[in-house]
């Protein structure tokens, strides 16, 4: 079972959190901090698995993570999940985000936390993998956004606002984080394979 999905940036700022097991607010933050501490210390040329922590659920607990440009995607899972399977699931998740946001970047996650949740809802439900087929996920998400358009006639407005925000120069976020490095296409996969 997937216990938690954490996305934080290179400075440890949480960008997206989803816990499938309840933890009090401060424990959640503690988990994010310690996970960041563990993960950020590791080079890019070491393995993507971490074990031996005791943050969630004691010893039956491992961290599987991937680092994309400015973001870490960390899945905390128990022993009933396959390491390599989850590793590719992260890839599918990120590729899906990339498709849905057209070249996803950190800002997309910040401004569309809710939408990221809906995408994840189609892939993981209650900690169990529901769908691993990217096109299927996108179909579901698109069906929902169609609904969005039909229900709220001016749904273009928020999208405009977001794209306006994207181009704003936020002090903490270097401009170059945009897109380029984040969109990991299939060729890059050979690195992991």
């Amino acid at each position: 079972m997937i216990k938690a999905i954490l996305v934080f940036n290179n400075h440890g700022k949480p960008r997206f959190l989803r816990f499938y097991q309840h933890f009090p607010e401060d424990t959640q933050q503690q988990i994010v901090r310690e996970t960041f501490h563990l993960v950020s210390k590791r080079d890019d040329n070491v393995c993507n698995f971490l074990e031996g922590g005791s943050l969630i659920g004691g010893s039956d607990y491992k961290l599987i993570y991937r680092h994309y440009a400015t973001l870490y995607f960390v899945f905390c899972v128990d022993s009933s999940e396959s390491e390599l399977g989850i590793l590719d699931l992260i890839q599918v998740f990120v590729e899906t985000l990339d498709k849905c946001f057209e070249n996803v970047c950190e800002l997309d996650l910040i401004f569309n936390v809710d939408k990221v949740h809906y995408i994840l809802h189609e892939m993981v439900m209650g900690g169990m993998v529901l769908e691993t087929n990217m096109s299927e996920v996108i179909t579901q998400v698109e069906a929902q956004s169609k609904l969005e358009k039909s229900e709220a006639g001016f749904s273009a407005a928020p999208a405009r606002a977001v794209s306006a925000m994207k181009n704003m120069n936020l002090p903490d976020l270097p401009r170059n984080i945009n897109i380029g490095d984040l969109n990991i296409k299939v060729p890059n996969l050979s690195h992991f394979a």
Partner: protein
């Protein structure tokens, strides 16, 4: 037409908001932008609090539209993600899910599933909405409801939702069926019994025409088969068929992932088959084929095929073995291990570790790779390699493997890793140690690196191994001798600091076996131990171990001058536990032969005959009883009596005129039954009931005799005359008090007949004290009303006996000696941390038996200092009471009045001892009345714990009297300040319960102590502390040393070293959370780096530093 107008109007506010720059969605933008602009956590907190306050206003306003509410929810989600709780928004999230249109509902559901947990009370409000949406015709609503059910649903409402979700299994859309299956999975996880009846439907889902639904049902099957593999063997065939189809590429192409057919499905199926085939040759037989097929097909060089291969290998080694599959699996493992890709290498090592027991040769094949992995830059790979090595350790390779493990251990900083690895090393060392030297040295490293985080079993097992020895006596001697020599060498190293556990092991071994090292004089061993004892960093627990060792050594060399020095030095030491031990040592020295008897050589494994009934005290008890002491009544019995009496009536008036200055009334609290009571009670348990029966019979006669004494009359007259206001109540009460008398007679059953002389004494006593209150009267077993008084009486009786008795010292020593056996026989030394009252210890030093038995009490009644004689009825009321001298010798806060009422004043003082913080409460009676049943109670506090000794009961405060009690306070979670409130309740003579509420503030700085470490140690500790905070602070002062010393005055740290414009300092939060400071000073700018294990401590401490510097 009007409808359109209406819609336009309702949409208008939203439109305006969207378009204006301060629109709802840009509000989130503003928030995010301002957060990213901030630099400190404090600023962020302020901003978010402000934001939450704004949100609160918005959501609670009636004019807020659902659309705006939706925007608010997104902001809530953002704040919650940053760790700020926004409890007030939860109900609005539920409302939004209830009332909103599809989009708003979706946000509402999302917020609910993020904010609430399964047992949250608000969740029940959501149930109806969920049920409604489940029945909706809108597909999206149904899906949303199913999603929320699978994330969060109250257990007790499952029956309501279950039939609806079961229906969804027949839904025409596969996405709905799939989500319904996962919702049922959720139900199975939280309440397996509730879904038992629908197992048939799970089977239907397994056979669903849609692959997605089937895949979802596998989650359920994996779980149920894990719980009960035998129950689903019949499905083995089905799973195999499915897997064959998947592997054979029979699924539609869109299930392929990088041209591998449904890899996640394959993984899941292989895992299920593993469960089914385990220990089952017949099921395994069926599985072989498909495994072979899977192995063969998985040849594309992609990540995900390795995932499948890995599952295959694990399955092959889990199910009933088959030779040719083993061969293939071994080849597969080879592929993993030899792969240049680090993830695969890691999994290869994992697989090797998994199969190594069945196939040790595999490790040989890959030994070179394994050796390479040992020096791999990735610590995770190294760890996995060590795990593998651990499994293949034997007598021959143990030294190499353990050396590798130790190398890794010295590098790792992660506590979990250290604990796990240290355990493994200790295990291997014990199992395979090639020789004594190696064993001891390895264990030395284990203890020094493992420090105080190691599992307590490790030192315990080690000591047991040493003590119990092997079959060969000579070998044992050598091992012990080597241990002694090695420890002495360690102790002689200058400036070396060892973890407390290690010091405890060392002191035990030296105490037990130093005699083996004949060439080393006992004195030099003692000197070494003494040196350790003097170190400031040694905890009082360790000190107790050391003193125990010194005591044992004293038996070897009774005339060592060092012992005198130790006794001299520590008999005045502030640590009461230490003092107790030293006093015992002092007494033992006088009794030479006894010392030898107590500490025989090399007998740590011998069984101690412990006379738990303390029968040797029986004579003593009998004497005491014959002198008029009351029988000891066990606590539970006392309470029962108290209850029954309370039910009957409360006869408070009799408490009226108890003397404020009864001689030696200093032992009156519920926690410390008097000496005689204890011993008699325990010996009473030793099975001498026969004797007791006898005494009872005799006693009854005596009672009657005494009942006829003029005494009773006196008593009655007193109560009538001196308790005038209550005289009305007396007749009413008397009937019941009579029955109380009877009961009391029974409790006093073991009183032996009084001799003439004693009768005289008692009469004298009663005449002396009769005017002072009921206590003297109750001495005779009369008119004992309240349980409290009964206790008091027994104590006074006991004390009197004590004073009269010149009891024999040895008996005390033996009774105490039992609590003083070497640490192996029990952990009492660890428990001996009670705060023994200093006076009593002094008394113990003088050989007064009575006090020694009170060693566990932490309370004392102090007579008002000014009231010098008992007869001096009125004494000047003094204003600020002072602390007991023993507490006052420590640094402490000024005694301050915290609360008072017309009768009592409560004073506090915080005593900052080196190893803990004590809170002393002083209760001053400002009136000439006596107050009873004083109980001190502290409310629970989030961050601090107050030791239970402060939740105490005092039986009374005399007129103008003072009571003091104290106990330890601990701060569990660091915080700048915490105020702990509590109340003191007491009863006045009129039996009116009164209460005083008070409040004590504890600051973080109360719990900070300097940590004396050397620069080297600082260097070692620095990298091992993971959390760091860095802050630049401007300082007015120009001198760095001056600044640092000023800072030191505020924050009690130890300045380790000042090198030019850099400074190192260390402190610790009690009990032992070290915190390291590194500061750099240049032109009025002080840069601080603080490290500690606890990030909250860092935050708080940094704030304190900031504050301190601002004030400078």
């Amino acid at each position: 037409m009007s409808e359109i107008v209406e819609r336009t109007l309702s949409a208008l506010p939203g439109l305006i908001l969207q378009d204006s720059p301060s629109g709802a969605s840009s509000k989130l933008g503003n928030l995010i932008r301002s957060i990213t602009a901030l630099t400190s956590r404090q600023e962020e907190e302020k901003l978010i609090q402000q934001e939450l306050a704004n949100l609160k206003v918005t959501v609670s306003s009636a004019n807020t539209t659902l659309r705006q509410m939706k925007e608010c929810m997104v902001r809530f989600i953002y704040c919650e993600m940053l760790g700020y709780e926004s409890g007030f928004g939860y109900i609005h999230a539920i409302k939004l899910a209830q009332q909103g249109n599809l989009l708003e509902k979706r946000v509402g559901y999302l917020a609910v599933s993020l904010f609430l947990h399964e047992n949250h009370e608000l969740l029940l409000l959501l149930v109806n909405t969920v049920l409604k949406d489940l029945q909706s015709t809108n597909l999206v609503e149904v899906c949303m409801a199913l999603t929320v059910v699978s994330q969060i649903f109250p257990k007790e409402m499952i029956p309501a939702a279950l039939p609806l979700i079961e229906d969804k299994l027949q839904h025409s859309k596969e996405i709905v069926r799939r989500k319904a299956v996962l919702a049922l999975y959720k139900f199975y996880m939280i309440a397996p019994t509730q879904v038992q009846h629908i197992h048939e439907k799970f089977r239907k889902a397994l056979c669903d025409r849609d692959v997605g639904v089937m895949a979802a049902s596998l989650h359920i099957y994996y779980q149920v088969i894990k719980d009960n593999p035998a129950g689903y063997k019949d499905l083995t065939g089905s799973f195999i068929t499915i897997l064959k189809q998947v592997v054979g590429g029979k699924l539609p192409a869109d299930f392929n992932y990088h041209s591998v057919p449904a890899p996640w499905l394959q993984i899941q199926l292989l895992r299920i088959l593993r469960l089914l085939g385990k220990d089952d040759p017949r099921a395994s037989e069926l599985i072989y084929d498909v495994l072979d097929e899977s192995l063969r097909r998985a040849e594309i060089n992609h990540n995900i095929t390795y995932a499948i291969l890995f599952e295959c290998v694990q399955t092959i080694y889990t199910i009933y073995p088959k030779a040719d599959l083993f061969e293939k699996a071994a080849k597969c493992i080879g592929k993993f291990v030899l792969s240049p890709k680090i993830n695969l290498k890691y999994l290869g090592l994992k697989a090797l570790t998994y199969v190594i027991q069945q196939d040790p040769n595999l490790a040989l094949q890959h030994q070179m790779t394994i050796i390479e992995c040992l020096d791999h830059p990735d610590p995770i790979i190294k760890r996995e390699t060590l795990e593998l090595l651990y499994r293949i350790t034997n007598g021959q390779n143990v030294t190499v493997i353990v050396q590798k493990m130790l190398d890794y251990l010295t590098q790792s900083k992660d506590e979990c890793t250290i604990i796990a690895l240290v355990g493994k090393i200790a295990d291997l060392a014990e199992k395979y140690a090639p020789n004594n030297q190696w064993f001891i040295q390895t264990m030395n490293v284990v203890f020094s690196i493992g420090g105080d985080v190691i599992h307590p079993d490790i030192p315990n097992n080690f000591l047991r191994l040493l003590a119990e020895g092997f079959d060969d006596e000579k070998e044992d001697r050598q091992l012990r001798l080597y241990a002694v020599q090695s420890y002495l060498a360690l102790l002689e190293t200058k400036n070396a600091h060892y973890p407390q556990r290690f010091l405890q092991v060392i002191s035990w071994v030296l105490g037990e076996y130093a005699y083996l090292a004949k060439h080393i004089p006992v004195e030099s061993v003692m000197t070494n131990l003494y040196e350790v004892l003097k170190q400031r960093s040694v905890t009082s627990e360790t000190k107790a171990w050391i003193v125990a060792a010194i005591s044992k050594l004293t038996a070897l060399s009774p005339h060592c001058s060092l012992v005198d020095r130790i006794i001299h030095e520590f008999s005045t030491c502030p640590d009461t536990v230490m003092r107790q031990h030293v006093c015992e040592l002092k007494l033992l020295r006088v009794e030479g032969p006894l010392t030898h008897k107590l500490f025989p050589l090399n007998s740590s494994c011998e069984d101690f005959m412990v006379d738990a009934s303390l029968s040797f005290l029986d004579g003593f008890v009998a004497d005491a009883l014959s002198n008029g002491a009351a029988t000891y009544i066990p606590r539970h019995q006392r309470q029962e009596e108290k209850m029954s009496r309370e039910k009957a009536l409360n006869l408070q008036p009799y408490g009226l005129c108890f003397s404020p200055s009864l001689p030696s009334a200093s032992l009156t609290d519920g926690h410390s039954p008097s000496a005689v009571s204890v011993s008699s009670g325990i010996s009473g348990n030793s099975g001498e009931t026969g004797q007791k029966e006898d005494t009872r019979l005799k006693l009854d006669g005596v009672k009657k005799l005494w009942g006829k004494d003029g005494y009773l009359l006196k008593k009655e007259s007193t109560s009538v005359t001196s308790v005038k206001p209550e005289s009305m109540a007396v007749p009413l009460d008397s009937g019941i008090s009579q029955s109380g008398d009877k009961k009391l007679q029974r409790t006093d059953e073991s009183l032996v007949p009084f001799t003439e002389e004693e009768k005289e004494k008692r009469q004298l006593a009663s005449t002396l004290f009769v005017g002072l209150g009921s206590s003297a009267v109750s001495l005779m077993g009369k008119a004992e009303q309240t349980p409290k008084k009964f206790k008091r009486k027994s104590k006074i009786g006991g004390n009197k006996v004590m004073n009269e008795e010149s009891s024999s010292l040895p008996s005390h020593l033996i009774s105490d000696g039992e609590g003083y056996t070497p640490p192996t026989s029990g952990t009492h030394l660890l428990n001996s941390d009670s705060h023994t009252s200093p006076e009593r210890l002094d008394a113990l030093g003088e050989g007064d038996v009575s006090t020694a038995l009170f060693a566990n009490s932490n309370m004392d009644i102090i007579k008002p200092l000014q009231s010098t004689s008992p007869n001096q009825g009125t004494c000047s009321v003094y204003h600020v009471p002072s602390l007991l001298p023993d507490l006052a010798q420590h640094p402490h806060s000024p005694v301050k009045e915290s609360a008072s009422d017309e009768n009592l004043s409560i004073y506090f003082s915080k005593v900052w001892k080196d190893d803990n913080v004590l809170l002393a409460i002083i209760i001053v009676n400002r009136t000439s009345l006596v107050f009873q049943n004083i109980s001190v109670h502290f409310d629970d506090s989030k961050n601090c714990t107050i030791s239970s000794s402060l939740h105490c009961q005092l039986s009374q405060v005399d007129a103008l009297g003072v009571q003091q009690c104290w106990g330890c306070v601990q701060m569990l979670i660091p915080c700048s300040a915490e105020s702990v409130s509590g109340c003191i309740s007491y009863q006045s003579e009129l039996a009116e319960p009164c209460q005083i509420i008070f409040c004590v503030d504890f600051l973080l700085l109360d719990f900070i102590r300097p940590l004396s470490i050397s620069t080297e140690e600082f260097g070692i500790m620095w990298p091992s502390h993971s959390n760091e905070l860095k802050r630049k602070l401007t300082v007015g002062q120009q001198s760095f040393t001056g600044t640092l010393h000023n800072l030191q005055r505020e924050i009690n740290f130890h300045i380790v070293e000042i090198i030019g414009d850099e400074g190192l300092a260390a402190c610790q939060m009690l009990p032992t959370v070290p915190c390291l400071l590194h500061c750099h000073f240049s032109s009025g700018l002080l840069t601080l780096w603080i490290r500690s294990h606890s990030s909250t401590l860092l935050d708080c401490l940094l704030r304190q530093c900031q504050k301190a510097l601002e004030e400078l």
